[in-house]
Every structure is written in structure tokens, then in C-alpha cells.
């Protein structure tokens, strides 16, 4: 690993932190709940990248195990929040308020 590689890692981590700040801004001002969920999902993915880059920056690439676990938890967490926002419970059978959704055209309903 050449001597200037830590500059590359610093640049990548700065770019990732700026992206995380932008995603956090969207999650604050987002008009709908789905905007916030989307921004938090993107934020979690950028956290995985930041853990990986910081592991290389400190010379300890073993932190990638943490990145793998964080990616798994991020995916499950997004699906759990989506299910919770639709059903009101993580184990419910029926949607929370079915009459509120507009009726679908027949070719768009799957």
C-alpha cells in the first residue's frame, strides 16, 4: 500500500459524510413518510461504506465484519419499518386502513 493511500481514504470518507448529511437533510424535510424511509435507507448504506473506508484508514480492515452486519440490519430494518407503516404491527394479518388507498387500475394491481 503506497504512502499516499490515506489521502484517497480521507477523500472517500469526506464524500461519504457529505452524502450522509444530504440524506439526513432529506429525512428531516421529507414531506412524506416514504421519503424519510428512503433517506434513512440511503443513510444506512452510506454508513456501511463509511465503516469500510474507516477500517482501511485506520489500518484495521477487520471492521468489514461490522459493515456486513450493518448492511444486513439495514435491509431488515427498512422492510420492518415499511411493514409497520402499512400494517400497524409487525405480525398483523390485515392492512391498517385499506379504504384510504385509492383504487388501482386493473393492470397495475398485482
Amino acid at each position: 500500500m503506497p504512502a499516499w493511500s490515506h489521502l484517497v481514504f480521507w477523500g472517500a470518507s469526506i464524500a461519504i459524510v457529505v452524502t450522509m448529511a444530504l440524506a439526513l437533510l432529506r429525512s428531516i424535510v421529507g414531506p412524506t413518510t416514504y421519503d424519510r424511509i428512503l433517506a434513512l435507507n440511503s443513510f444506512g448504506t452510506k454508513t456501511v461504506l463509511l465503516i469500510a473506508v474507516a477500517g482501511f484508514l485506520t489500518g484495521r480492515p477487520e471492521w468489514l465484519d461490522l459493515a456486513i452486519v450493518y448492511a444486513l440490519i439495514n435491509f431488515i430494518g427498512t422492510l420492518a419499518v415499511l411493514r409497520f407503516s402499512k400494517y400497524g404491527s409487525l405480525a398483523a394479518e390485515a392492512p391498517l386502513d385499506e379504504g384510504e388507498a385509492p383504487e388501482r387500475p386493473p393492470e397495475a394491481s398485482t
Partner: protein
């Protein structure tokens, strides 16, 4: 040889950081939920893969395997979660801004019949608290949306 590999990895990391920044900018500035989903999904795919594949050129072989595992999992999970998110938002009636084709998020009864400009799309969750306040005269969503758009 190590220098050459590091330069290749630097190119990959720079590309990934560029895609990440552009996706974050699009996540803030794009006008619509669905276009923001495009920005975030593209960032998850291209930005994450660029940075992680670029890190592979600096790493030892076992670490390369871990990095490629993370890339593969992000490529699977990001697509699935974006699809679930868009489908949930679409089923809930989050509206499109400026649709070039028919806006299927508007039910056929509330669709404006005249061929003209698309109505100003207000997301449903943002509109729900204000529905009770004006009260009596507006029970039609499309007429209300048409009134708010004098000219474009």
C-alpha cells in the same frame, strides 16, 4: 506493481465517491418521491460498488472476499428495498409530479378530463392534516389541485 493497483483503486474510489455525491444531491433536489428513489437506488448501486471495489485493490485476499460479499449483498438488498418502498408508496397514493404519461396514482373518477397541464401534485401525507380545516366546499381532489395552479 502495488503502485499500479493503488492507482486503479483510486480511480474506482473516485468514481464511487462521485456517484455517491451526485446521488445525495439528487436525493435533496429532485422534485418527486419516485425520482428521489431513482437517485438513492443509483447511489446504492454505483456509489457503494465503486468505493468497495476500489478498496479491493488496497486489500489482502481475505479482505477482498469480505468486500465482494458486502457488494453482492448491497446489490441484492438495495434493489429489493427500493422496490418495496416504491410499491408501498404507490399503493398509498403518493403522487407524481409532472407525469409525461397518465398518472395512475390518481383514481379514474378524480382524473381531470380535459387535456392540459397536470395538476400540482401534493403528497397525500402532507395534505391529510389540512383536509378538515377548510371543510365544506372541497371534496374533489382534482378541482382543488386545479385551483392552485393559475399558470405555468
Amino acid at each position: 506493481m502495488s503502485e499500479v493497483l493503488a492507482i486503479i483503486g483510486t480511480v474506482f474510489i473516485a468514481g464511487g465517491a462521485f456517484f455517491s455525491l451526485v446521488g445525495g444531491l439528487g436525493l435533496v433536489r429532485l422534485p418527486d418521491f419516485y425520482t428521489r428513489c431513482h437517485a438513492a437506488g443509483m447511489t446504492d448501486s454505483a456509489g457503494a460498488a465503486g468505493v468497495l471495489v476500489g478498496l479491493c485493490f488496497f486489500a489482502e485476499p481475505l479482505v477482498v472476499v469480505k468486500l465482494l460479499t458486502v457488494v453482492a449483498f448491497i446489490w441484492l438488498s438495495s434493489v429489493v428495498s427500493t422496490h418495496a418502498l416504491v410499491k408501498a408508496a404507490y399503493a398509498r397514493g403518493v403522487k407524481l409530479v409532472n407525469p409525461r404519461v397518465r398518472d395512475w396514482t390518481v383514481p379514474p373518477s378524480a382524473r381531470p378530463s380535459a387535456v392540459g397541464e397536470a395538476p400540482v401534485a401534493i403528497p397525500k401525507a402532507a395534505k391529510v392534516p389540512t383536509l378538515d380545516a377548510p371543510g365544506d366546499q372541497d371534496d374533489d381532489e382534482s378541482g382543488e389541485a386545479d385551483d392552485e395552479e393559475p399558470s405555468r
